[in-house]
């Protein structure tokens, strides 16, 4: 028996793009509370464009984004930021800023610009730094860190927002295997123990199948497959979406689908 689900974030006839170009023509997508969804698809298929439009970073070119069943535009941007955290694919490294100063910015939506005039170093920041393994690097300058360490700092900033929904664009980029696994387990734990809803763009399909409840495969801005990993990570879908000829076997540890290119 499955418990009743609620849709926390949805695209309703959503069209997305940049400037005059439409990347995602029309898309309906409903994300259920307390689930992990992985967006997969080849480069340029519109994953980031879709994610940033769901996050109200890009204005929709048509249709609407619904947050908790209401148009996301009905709430002020800072109210949205208390409900939904975004990890963009490209963030700017401020010249000379330390990891702690970047993570501190995650507190902005909850505390507001006036409280943020005082230096923060609270338990929320501490927890975000700990969960991303950055406690030892907290006072290092971001521009002196490796790509993976920087990526973890951005993730820590997003965690410090303490939102019920997380939208992560390629969170495992630059991370070594150890930190990729740690991050995927962290995401799984946030979802299972705290009921946090996660939508993330992933390139590693085996990782997506192992840690996500649902895979959404995009190509040319349209959804080509959507469902649990067993329904999406199949040879026909891999061929249609990625032009990859592959075999799919159960992975030896969890029995989830695991693909190997032929």
């Amino acid at each position: 028996m499955t418990p009743p689900t609620t849709t926390v974030l949805a695209g309703d006839g959503l069209a997305a793009g940049h400037g005059r170009t439409t990347v995602v023509p029309a898309l309906d997508l409903a994300v259920e509370a307390g689930t992990v969804t992985a967006l997969v698809g080849p480069n340029g298929s519109g994953k980031s464009t879709l994610l940033m439009t769901l996050a109200r970073v890009l204005p929709p070119r048509g249709g609407r984004v619904l947050l908790d069943g209401e148009p996301i535009t009905a709430r002020s941007s800072v109210e949205v930021a208390r409900r939904l955290g975004v990890l963009p694919q490209t963030a700017v490294v401020p010249a000379g800023a330390t990891v702690r100063e970047v993570v501190e910015q995650g507190r902005y939506p909850q505390l507001g610009p006036w409280a943020m005039m005082r230096r923060r170093d609270d338990s929320v920041m501490e927890r975000a730094l700990r969960l991303t393994g950055l406690l030892d690097l907290a006072d290092r300058r971001l521009d002196s860190l490796s790509g993976g360490e920087r990526q973890r700092a951005w993730i820590a900033m997003t965690l410090a927002q303490q939102t019920g929904i997380l939208l992560l664009d390629e969170p495992t980029t630059y991370l070594d295997v150890r930190h990729q696994i740690d991050l995927m387990r962290l995401v799984r734990g946030l979802c299972d123990e705290h009921g946090i809803t996660v939508v993330m763009v992933l390139h590693d399909l085996n990782q997506a199948a192992r840690y996500a409840d649902r895979l959404v495969a995009l190509r040319d801005g349209t959804v080509r497959a959507d469902g649990p990993p067993t329904a999406v990570l199949t040879p026909p879908v891999l061929r249609e979406v990625f032009d990859v000829d592959a075999v799919v076997v159960p992975d030896p540890v969890t029995g989830r689908p695991w693909f190997v290119a032929r």
């Binding site: 996050a55 955290g85 963009p88 010249a95 000379g96 910015q105 995650g106 902005y108 005039m117 900033m157």
Partner: protein, 335 residues
């Protein structure tokens, strides 16, 4: 060093050093001049008890306004620099990236050519109006790519200014003050017109937490709940107003608005909550110190020592500022 200076104790020490340096610079300004006045008489003049009325005039009407205008204009330029750099997220941006200085100069030249009778007051108003109008044009035309637009706008305005001066070179002497930047012959009126603008400094400071969020890039900033449109409008307005007030009082002084934020970042890092006040103090100290150099040189060179025609402080900041900037940028790259 930086890590230590970021802590409250380090910041208090930094503040104490800045206050001390400021006091020394102000004293040096008050004590040096073409006429030599005994230091006891300088102090007495400040307290309104000088033995000769001439001392009171020199100290209160010439030397004091000059150093006060220098401190205030330096602080305003530095804060304008921090704000402009924050908006475009480029540490090489500066107040002149907005074209505001060029707009002020053009307005002054146009006024002096078309209506020479308006005199000092007219030039002041023209400078302010020109600077603010340039800011408005910048916002209307190029807020999305505003660094490029501002630089282009500045170049076009400077070209028009040169054309006007070719046609009518009479105002060249007066206008040089605005083009290069000078604190020579400042009067109590100049100070009275400038100090109310210092209210912009706390306004700029109040924007610091938003600037910190903005510095992470537009996508991350929107993710944190910032609205880019209104934020940029306010930050640019404050930056342009700071630059306009400084330029109207001291002319388009080069490099202070660029170098002060850089030194500030080297000392205390990128956090705008600390950087805004630290850069303001540094800008104040740098400009008044450079003016001390300018004035000392003027006194040394016979024939230069008249009130208006002394070495302009803008020449000193440009000569010193360029190599300082190069070494700062190198240090930042190495750090």
């Amino acid at each position: 060093m930086r890590a230590a200076l970021r802590r409250p104790a380090g910041l208090s020490a930094l503040g104490a050093v800045a206050l001390l340096a400021g006091a020394v610079i102000v004293l040096a300004h008050l004590l040096t001049g073409r006429s030599s006045i005994p230091s006891a008489e300088v102090v007495a003049a400040l307290l309104g008890r000088a033995s000769e009325p001439a001392y009171t005039v020199v100290v209160l009407d010439h030397r004091l306004p000059r150093v006060l205008v220098g401190l205030a204009a330096g602080a305003l330029l530095a804060v304008a620099g921090v704000l402009v750099q924050a908006v475009v997220r480029n540490p090489l941006a500066e107040p002149s990236t907005t074209g505001v200085g060029a707009g002020a100069a053009l307005a002054v030249v146009a006024t002096l050519v078309l209506a020479p009778d308006l005199g000092q007051g007219g030039a002041y108003v023209a400078s302010l109006v020109g600077a603010l109008a340039t800011g408005a044009v910048l916002w209307a035309v190029g807020r999305r790519s505003f660094a490029v637009t501002g630089v282009l706008l500045g170049a076009v305005l400077a070209a028009v200014t040169s054309l006007l001066l070719v046609v009518d070179s009479a105002p060249l002497g007066t206008v040089l003050r605005w083009l290069v930047g000078s604190l020579n012959a400042r009067t109590p009126t100049d100070w009275a017109l400038l100090w109310p603008w210092l209210a912009l400094l706390p306004v700029a400071w109040a924007l610091a937490s938003r600037l910190n969020a903005w510095s992470l890039g537009e996508a991350a900033a929107v993710g944190l709940g910032l609205r880019p449109g209104p934020l940029l409008a306010v930050v640019l307005l404050v930056a342009v107003a700071c630059a306009a007030a400084a330029v109207a009082a001291a002319g388009a002084v080069a490099f202070v608005g660029l170098v002060a934020p850089h030194i500030g970042r080297l000392l205390v890092g990128a956090d705008h909550r600390v950087l805004v006040p630290v850069a303001a103090a540094l800008g104040a100290l740098l400009l008044s110190l450079a003016d001390l150099v300018a004035f000392s040189v003027s006194v040394q060179v016979p024939g230069l020592a008249t009130d208006v025609s002394g070495v302009p402080v803008g020449a000193v900041t440009a000569l010193i500022g360029a190599p300082v900037l190069v070494s700062l940028v190198r240090r930042e790259q190495r750090a």
